[in-house]
């Protein structure tokens, strides 16, 4: 293997590591990470072996039937769930197969996907707050209770975003958010606003549900990625405990 060739393998390896860790942190299941990385590597003419864990990715690239190979480890970056990236990378992986993109082109596409704008903050806050009000309606709330759930969810999500910005521990950020939301909705229980204000209290913390970890956990378990499935499940469980802790503190303060 010539020096030039080694550089090329290294470049492909770097790109595959970026791609795999990015997918993992943006909320893809283990099986999807493996399939996508394999698909792209195969299209570029490399054989890869992967060890995927929740916090890091180990990857070995070999070129054809030469005995030369290269291994590297990369930590998973701390991005949040971002389905725009997951969906963009999945689309790109087919373009790699069909249009034979080069490593440089793939790197450019990954950078573009990361830079894609999120929804405006106010849009996120109000849509999630609307979801909170919808939950309240689904559990039998009416009129004013929907409004309370809306305001509580809006405030709770705002607190969570601020805590994450200030780099608090992510579980602690959930405790803060759950506490903030249930302090708002708990006030309505205390003051007796509406017919059954408990509905607002029970639903105002539901925006924190760890849906992605829990569903990916089961997908991984069914898929045979038992270890990652267990890790994700425990992660989801700790998040659920964090929600409960914030709710409990607020309820103790109000004496509900």
């Amino acid at each position: 293997m010539s020096g030039n060739n080694i550089e090329k393998v290294k470049a492909a390896e770097e790109m595959l590591l970026d791609l795999g860790t990015l997918l993992m942190s943006c909320g893809a299941s283990t099986g999807r990470v493996r399939i996508t990385v394999n698909r792209i590597a195969e299209a570029l003419g490399y054989d890869v072996e992967l060890l995927i864990t929740s916090r890091s990715l180990i990857l070995t690239v070999a070129e054809g039937d030469t005995m030369s190979f290269s291994s590297s480890v990369r930590r998973t970056p701390p991005h949040g769930v971002n389905f725009k990236v997951v969906s963009g990378i999945s689309r790109m992986s087919w373009r790699v197969v069909e249009e034979k993109l080069t490593v440089e082109q793939i790197n450019k596409e990954i950078d573009r996907l990361i830079a894609l704008p999120h929804y405006p903050r106010l849009v996120v806050l109000s849509t999630v707050a609307l979801a909170g009000a919808s939950f309240c309606r689904l559990f039998g709330g009416q009129g004013l209770e929907l409004l309370v759930a809306f305001v509580a969810t809006f405030f709770g999500l705002f607190i969570r975003q601020e805590s994450l910005k200030k780099r608090f521990n992510p579980y602690l950020a959930i405790v803060f958010a759950s506490f903030a939301a249930s302090m708002v909705s708990g006030l309505s229980v205390k003051l007796g606003i509406g017919d059954s204000p408990e509905h607002a209290l029970a639903t105002s913390v539901l925006f924190l549900i760890p849906g992605v970890p829990l569903i990916n956990s089961l997908t991984d378990l069914i898929d045979g990625n038992t270890l990652n499935g267990v890790i994700r499940g425990i992660n989801g469980l700790v998040m659920a405990f964090a929600i409960a802790l914030g709710l409990m503190i607020a309820m103790q303060i109000y004496g509900i």
């Binding site: 893809a28 389905f83 969906s87 999120h118 609307l130 997908t219």
Partner: protein, 167 residues
């Protein structure tokens, strides 16, 4: 009966909005938003219709999640995004928040009640029931969504093989 159906239709709309909130939170591509709203509504209404027919909440949720799982696979082909982009936000409105909340309340009460207290066993029974419902509903949500995804993934591998053979 007509009133019940109207009620279910109305709740379907709310299921859709709850799904939409999570879709925005998870930053899904814009072109998938409407589909997610419809999937959320479809899954929720399936669940409510089955519950109307006296089917237990766990099985009804499994069916609702399976409807979302199957539809999300076909949506994935049409809108060019992986199925999980559609299915995860759509099933979250079916998460048993009320049962989980009651279980939590029960646990707090249990921790503060003496075993000799006459209400202890009543609280224990209610908490166990709410906790089990929460657990099984969560499991059926995840299973209902994951299984169609896993089945359809075999299809894509077949497609890759076909591509290889045709070259």
């Amino acid at each position: 009966m007509v009133l019940d159906l109207l009620m279910i239709l109305e709740k379907g709309i709310w299921f859709g909005f709850a799904a939409l909130g999570f879709a925005v939170l998870f930053n899904v591509p814009q072109r998938t938003l409407i589909v997610i709203w419809m999937l959320g509504a479809a899954g929720g209404m399936t669940k409510l219709l089955l519950m109307q027919a006296n089917i237990g909440i766990v099985v009804a949720t499994l069916a609702g999640a399976a409807v979302i799982g199957v539809l999300s696979v076909s949506a994935a082909h049409n809108k060019h995004a992986p199925p999980l982009v559609f299915s995860i936000p759509s099933v979250i409105p079916m998460v048993p928040g009320a049962f989980a909340y009651r279980m939590m309340l029960g646990l707090i009460k249990l921790a503060g009640t003496a075993v000799t207290d006459p209400t202890y066993h009543q609280i224990l029974a209610e908490t166990t029931s709410n906790g089990l419902k929460t657990m099984f509903i969560l499991m059926s949500l995840a299973a209902g969504v994951s299984i169609p995804m896993l089945i359809s993934r075999k299809d894509t591998i077949k497609k890759i093989r076909n591509l290889d053979n045709s070259e």
